[in-house]
Structures are given as structure tokens and as C-alpha cells.
Amino acid sequence: MTWSEMQPLLSQACWDTLYMVGWSTLIAVLGGLPLGVLLVLTDRGGLLQNVLANKVIGQIVNIARSMPFIILMVALMNFTRWITGTTIGREAAIVPLAIGAIPFFARLVETAVREVDGGLVEAVQSMGGNTWTVVRKVLVPESLPSLISSTTTTIVALIGYSAMAGTVGAGGLGDIAIRYGYQRFETELMWITVAILAVVISLIQFAGDYAARTLHRRGGHSGPVPKLRLLKASAATSDTV
């Protein structure tokens, strides 16, 4: 296969991957953020303490998270058809991707929001703020650097999932790697795909870490700043010296 043959395949695949991952990330954040916050609020000692609701939400999240993505994709076929009118293609893949990522992101949000100092919540309550104010003015802004890191992690996970979505004809880089690289022994194309994925993931991780670091520093935290992951190896060695 020549480069001129590969090039259009790859650019279409890149675009498909970004399309699927972009939309499913957006939906995962929109769905997972409130869910994660709700998990904290309804917990014992939370502002909206409701042990039953907490248990129910927690269980749903756990079940959805423990399901292998490929099974989830098949299990959701009817739902996908109902939403998009089809079970094949990019749009159809977004549905299981988003649904798979919502509980994943929700757990990360839960962890991030739990880190917020309870004293801040108390302070806003003492000013006459209600629960919604606490969420809007304290929980979300104060955990923003962590939330951004969580989003990065989610995007990277979704890129991995999207390769599997390729098996239902969604296209994307993973699909190319399997169909051409693996099934037709186009080893070269497979390695190029892997290289592109590696670069894309690195870029996303870098951008995410950078954003989180900047926000963290703006808050002027004096504690250790999370290191850029790309530089982790060198940083780690210099630490041990």
C-alpha cells in the first residue's frame, strides 16, 4: 500500500476518531459531572444526605463500569437504534461510548469533589448560600484542576474504547488498524496508526496537564504541582538523585 493510498484512509480515520471521542466526551462530562456531584452530596454527612439514593446511584455506576465496553455496545444496540436510527457508523458509536464514559467520569468527579475542604462549604452556608450555590461557587470551581485532569483521563480512555467501536463499523483509527493492519497484514499501516494514536494521546495528555497545572498555579497552591507526564521519566530520575 502506498502512502497516497493510505493518506485519505488515515485522514478520514483521524477525523472519525476525533468526532466520536469529541461528542462522547462532551456527553460524558455533561452527564458525569452532575452524577459525580450527586454522589458526594447524597452521601452520609452530605448536604443532600440520602443514603438510599446514594446506594442506588452508586450501584448503577458500578454495574456500568464493570461491564466490558464491547458487551455494553452490544447490550445497548436497541437503545442506540432508538436514539440514532441505526446501529452502524460514527453516530451510532457515540451512544455506547458516552454511556460507557459517564459512570467512569462520574467516579473521577466524585473523587475530585470529595477533596474540597468542608470548611469552604460551611463558609458559604454561613453567608446564606443554598446547596446549589455551594455546588456552583465552591465544589466545582475549587475542584476544577482535578476535574480537568479527570476529563483528560476520560478522553484517553474513550480513544481506547473507540477502537472497539470500529468493530461495529464506526470507522476511526482503531478500525483501520484492525481491518487493514491486522486482517490484511498491512503492517506498515498498522504501525502508522499506532504512532498517530500515540501522538494524539500524548498531545491530549499534555494539553490537559498543562491546563490543570495552570489553574492549579493560578490558585497559587504552594504544595507540589502535578508534573507534566511527558516529562515524568526525567523528573523522576532527577528526584532520586
Binding site: G119, V124, G128, V138, E142, L144
Partner: protein
Amino acid sequence: MITTTGLTKVYRSRGREVTALDGVDLHVREGEVYGVIGQSGAGKSSLIRCVNLLERPTAGTVTVDGRDLTALAGRGSRAGRELRQARSRIGMVFQHFNLLSSRTVQDNVELPLEILGKSGKERSRKAVELLDLVGLADKAKAYPAQLSGGQKQRVGIARALAGDPRVLLSDEATSALDPETTRSILQLLRDLNRQLGLTVLLITHEMDVVKTICDSAALMEQGRIVEHGTVSELLATPGSALAAALFPVGGEASGDDRTVLDVTFHGESATQPVISQLSRTYNIDISILGAAIDTVGGLQIGRMRIELPGRYEDNVVPIGFLREQGLQIDVLGREALLVKDGAR
């Protein structure tokens, strides 16, 4: 201004009950600085949190500025609109400042105004004015992490004042600060109390705080208020634990057959040469074990620990003489002595 009656708070966890407040009656007059002092675990924190109902009392009522807050309470742990409105008129300052790290100093001060729904222009005008009042006008654009502890607490105070409160609650506001910063923060609270007529209820475990700025004080032990009153009343109360703690004098008796007295001078009696009169009148030798003069709550107070020869029974007349001079006399170790005699 703040009145609590029969305030009781019981925490239940896993079948165990802990009584943090056991029928606390507190009365804070308008415009005064009232200090509640006690060991950690005495219930001070629960008390101040019950005043703006951050903690819901198990029983009893809280009235602030003529409003019964306990009657406004929403259902369960959530505060209804009226309670939230009432809270916005009560400022609160915290030990660990509780500033939002993601907001600048000015935005932190604006936060309560945002909650009150004030316009952007009004908010920034008010915030700038308050930062000026607490002496941090040049730090408006800084983030809390760039400030020192004392500066953070100043921001906390500016923020607490944003809603034009008539009452300020201070929860160990100076406990995380060094002595010098503590003094400047207390001075600021005192100034605000005088300038704005702000009523301040503070809790602390530091006697110095009470000594420096409080008009009245209460001592808490095991969820109860065991002593309370204005600082001058307390100092005039014989055997007052608070007075002794506010104004300690040291010194041990030199022998068994001695009588040790704590003599407290205040007002006019401080100027009379009573000790030499006592010595001359009864022809006894008096040793001074310890003495101090200090200003407590704006009053000049002197306290002296003296030793008279002979047991208490031998010194009833001289002690009577001292009391006649308008001095406050506490006889030390008297109870202990009586018990020992009884045992024999």
C-alpha cells in the same frame, strides 16, 4: 443581641450519644465583645455553630437580633430561605480562614454579595471599601495562597462584613496565627466593634484573647457554661476560675502553718497602701509571693499573693480587715485544709 436558652446538642453516631451542649443559656448584649473560653471538647465549636444553625440544636432556642432562628429552620439538615436570609446578616470568621483558593481576594469578598444577588458594580465597590477597611486594598488581585495567615484572616473578616451584619461570630479566628498577628487581628476586631457597633461573639481557648478584647466572658466545661459575666464582674467574684485564669499569680506557701491569700485590687482600692497598714495595725510580717498589674477589659487590675504567719484560724481578723478595705480576698487551699483536718 444573641440569646440562647436551654441550648442542647447531642450527637448520635453508631448508637453512642455524645452531649456537646447541655442546656446552654447565653446572653450577648448589643455592641459587646463576648468571649466563650474552654478546653477543646468543651462544646464551644458546637455552640457557635448552633448560633447560626450550621448545626441544628437538639433542643433549645437561638434568638439573634430579635429573630428566633430555631423557628425559621427548614426541614432536616437543609436551611429554608428565611434562615439563609438571617444567616447572611450574621458574619462568620473561621480558624482556617476558609477562603476559596480559586478566587482572588476581591472575588472572595464579593462572594457573599453574589449570594445576596447584588449587581457587579455594587459588589466591587463594596469589596474595595471593605478591603480598605481591613488594610488590604493593595492585595485585591492576589490569590489567597499568596497571603500570610494574618492577611488571610483579614480577608476572612472583610468577607464576613460584606453582608452588613450586625453580629460577627468568630470561631477561633486567631488560633492559627502567631502572637503578633493575633494581636493585630484582635485589634482589628476591637476597632470594628467600636466603629460599626458590631456585636462580636467569639470562641477561643486562649485566655489572652479574652483579656485583650472581651467585655464579657463565659467559661465552658463539658457542654455547660460554668461561669459568665462581664470581665469586671468576674474579677470581682471570689473564687472565680475565669478570673484566676485571666489573671494568674504564682507562688507557693513557704510552710505548713501559713495562710496564703490572693488579694485583688481594682478601682480605688488599688491606690491605698493596705498592705503596710495591715502590717502595722496587727504587727504581723507579710511576705509577698507574687504580684502583677494588668489591664483586663480596659480596667486596671492588680493582684497579689501574700502569706501571713499562722493558720487561717489565727488570721480571721486581719482577713476581715482587708475585706473591709474593699479588697477581694481569696484564701488559698482552705477547702483542702478543712478536708485534711476532718480526716484527722
